[in-house]
């Protein structure tokens, strides 16, 4: 399937808008057309937050994502709110603490410990977004690895490059470790 529309959802403060920007910049480096947008509620932290990215070889006119091909959910609230917006045949990448309250047999699900890895393995909660990006790359391969790593390094604060690269690698690894165990029920 073509991965064109991405919705990255979680709570405010998890860095999902930055992750969306990086995903878009990586695709831009690959010569694709991109649009990145975000829901922009009045609350800065804690509320439901989402970033959206469209990646395409063609011109992108309508800039919003309605139904997405790939949904990343980092919180239960985000999952509950957006799971119905995932297209049939789409991919859900979710934190493994999220309960799949709305089981769908028409999607592919990757349930991995993104937040645990950030909090307990890397001991840096703020890199959950980079781990998630690593997961998105490993599942979709919609961008080149080099472009992604370059885009990450362009955006993260000086002195955190190694940490962020490590977080990306953790993301790749999380998906590798569950590949084959994915519930393909299509």
């Amino acid at each position: 399937m073509e991965f064109r529309e991405f919705r990255l959802s979680g709570s405010g403060g998890q860095g999902l808008i930055l992750a969306g920007i990086i995903l878009a910049e990586a695709a831009l480096k690959d010569g694709k057309n991109v649009v990145q947008s975000q829901s922009y509620g009045p609350e800065a932290r804690g509320g439901a937050s989402k970033a959206e990215v469209i990646i395409s070889d063609k011109d992108i006119n309508y800039p919003k994502v309605e139904k997405c091909d790939v949904l990343l959910a980092l919180t239960q609230k985000a999952y509950d709110k957006y799971i119905s917006t995932l297209k049939t045949g789409g991919v859900l990448i979710k934190d493994d603490k999220i309960a799949e309250t709305q089981k769908r047999d028409d999607i592919e699900v990757y349930s991995v410990p993104i937040l645990y890895t950030a909090n307990e393995v890397l001991k840096k909660p703020m890199v959950a977004n980079m781990i998630a990006l690593g997961c998105i790359y490993e599942v979709t391969r919609v961008i080149n690895k080099d472009s992604l790593e370059e885009a990450v390094l362009n955006r993260v604060p000086q002195g955190t490059e190694e940490l962020n690269k490590k977080a990306l690698c953790e993301g790749y690894r999380l998906i590798e470790s569950v590949k084959g165990k994915v519930c393909h029920e299509i």
Partner: protein
């Protein structure tokens, strides 16, 4: 240009980049969502290039500050949104009357009043045209992509300098906040228009006299030895207030006609799939992007439909809309309001063809799907 020059840029950022490329060196504003990034980025960038940024106490002070700055010869801009745009109307009228070039950005949001601060709306179409009191003409431009925000901001400055008039840049929240690839041109490729300075000495200078061969009076910078009176009152060629009815009529007509008589220079637009079209959509800004997607879908189903997209929405593209109206069986105006531009299209095109309107005011961008449905069922 190579791929490497492409940058992911937010709409509001592209506005500042365009303004600086056009020569903006002064920004005064009062931050308000969804235009705040324009003030933020101006504050970060202007001091580094010898410019000035001032956060004023409110919107009226902001537009007054840019009028003052412009009178000293500096290109100046302010940016706001809905409620702030209401407050700026007084200053816009003053800049029209005193013929002070400046750019006013209005990133629209849901209204009335403070409305929906973070949601898109196209509810200020008529306010841009008639928000300030008194008989006047106005230039208002409406970009549709992030790259076009860059280009249109430059155009806004150029037109304001050329016609000595405030220019309104209307934007949609959707495009102001989204990021898109922008390939910025080299600064040497950008055409910049600067106001004409006096060709005569201070003794002979008449600040509001149009010399032969000019469209507008030549403009002296305050502080360079040319003393003159700047007023919102009807004034004669020397700038002095007057109640003379003949002078009043001449001045008001001149201010209107300097814009209305130069439509070919001022009116920008895009035609999309119109060559063989039997029906047409008129849309602008973000709504035009939805319309393009809808047209692609409808064309794939065999429907001969296209779009006319005004980039200059005021003065309205009368000639182009009339031509279009004579050619197509119907025109559908799609906008995020209850039919503001529809009124203008009906006025111009209504005698030649059927004109329908589709609007929504719930704070969401019109989707391609609903446009398709409207065209097929409407």
């Amino acid at each position: 240009m190579t791929e490497n020059n492409k940058r992911l840029m937010q709409g509001n950022e592209a506005c500042v980049e365009g303004a600086i490329a056009a020569g903006m060196r002064f920004f005064a504003g009062y931050p308000i969502t969804p235009s705040t990034e324009i003030a933020e980025i101006s504050a970060a960038k202007l001091p580094r290039i010898g410019g000035k940024f001032i956060q004023m106490e409110d919107e009226i002070a902001s537009i007054s500050a840019i009028i003052g700055a412009s009178l000293t010869g500096v290109k100046a801009m302010t940016a706001t949104s809905g409620p702030g745009f209401s407050l700026k109307q007084e200053g816009i009228g003053y800049a029209i009357m005193a013929e002070v070039p400046c750019v006013i950005v209005n990133v629209q949001r849901g209204g009335p009043s403070t409305g929906l601060p973070t949601s898109p709306a196209q509810g200020d179409i008529m306010q841009a045209r008639w928000g300030t009191h008194g008989e006047h003409s106005i230039i208002a431009l409406y970009p549709s992509t992030v790259k076009e925000i860059f280009d249109t901001t430059i155009r806004a400055f150029n037109l304001s300098e050329k016609y000595r008039t405030p220019v309104i840049l209307l934007m949609d929240e959707v495009i102001a906040h989204m990021r898109e690839a922008v390939d910025l041109p080299d600064i040497s490729e950008i055409k910049i228009y600067n106001r004409k300075k006096p060709s005569v000495g201070p003794e002979e200078y008449k600040p509001y006299k149009v010399l032969k061969g000019n469209i507008v009076p030549e403009m002296a910078n305050i502080g360079e030895g040319y003393r003159y009176h700047v007023t919102g009152l009807i004034h004669d060629e020397s700038g002095a207030p007057t109640n003379d009815n003949r002078i009043a009529e001449e001045l008001v007509l001149r201010l209107v006609n300097k814009i209305e008589n130069n439509l070919d220079d001022i009116v920008y637009y895009e035609k999309y799939e119109l060559d063989d079209a039997e029906e047409a959509i008129v849309a602008f800004g973000a709504t035009a992007r939805s319309a393009k997607s809808a047209i692609d879908t409808l064309r794939a189903k065999g429907r001969r439909i296209g779009m006319f997209r005004p980039i200059t929405i005021w003065p309205s593209p009368k000639k182009q809309l009339t031509e279009l109206a004579k050619k197509v069986k119907r025109i559908m105006v799609v906008e995020m309001n209850m039919g503001q531009y529809l009124l203008e299209v009906e006025r111009i095109a209504g005698k030649y063809t059927e004109v329908l309107g589709y609007g929504r005011v719930n704070g969401e961008l019109v989707t391609p799907k609903e446009i398709v449905r409207f065209v097929e069922e409407g």
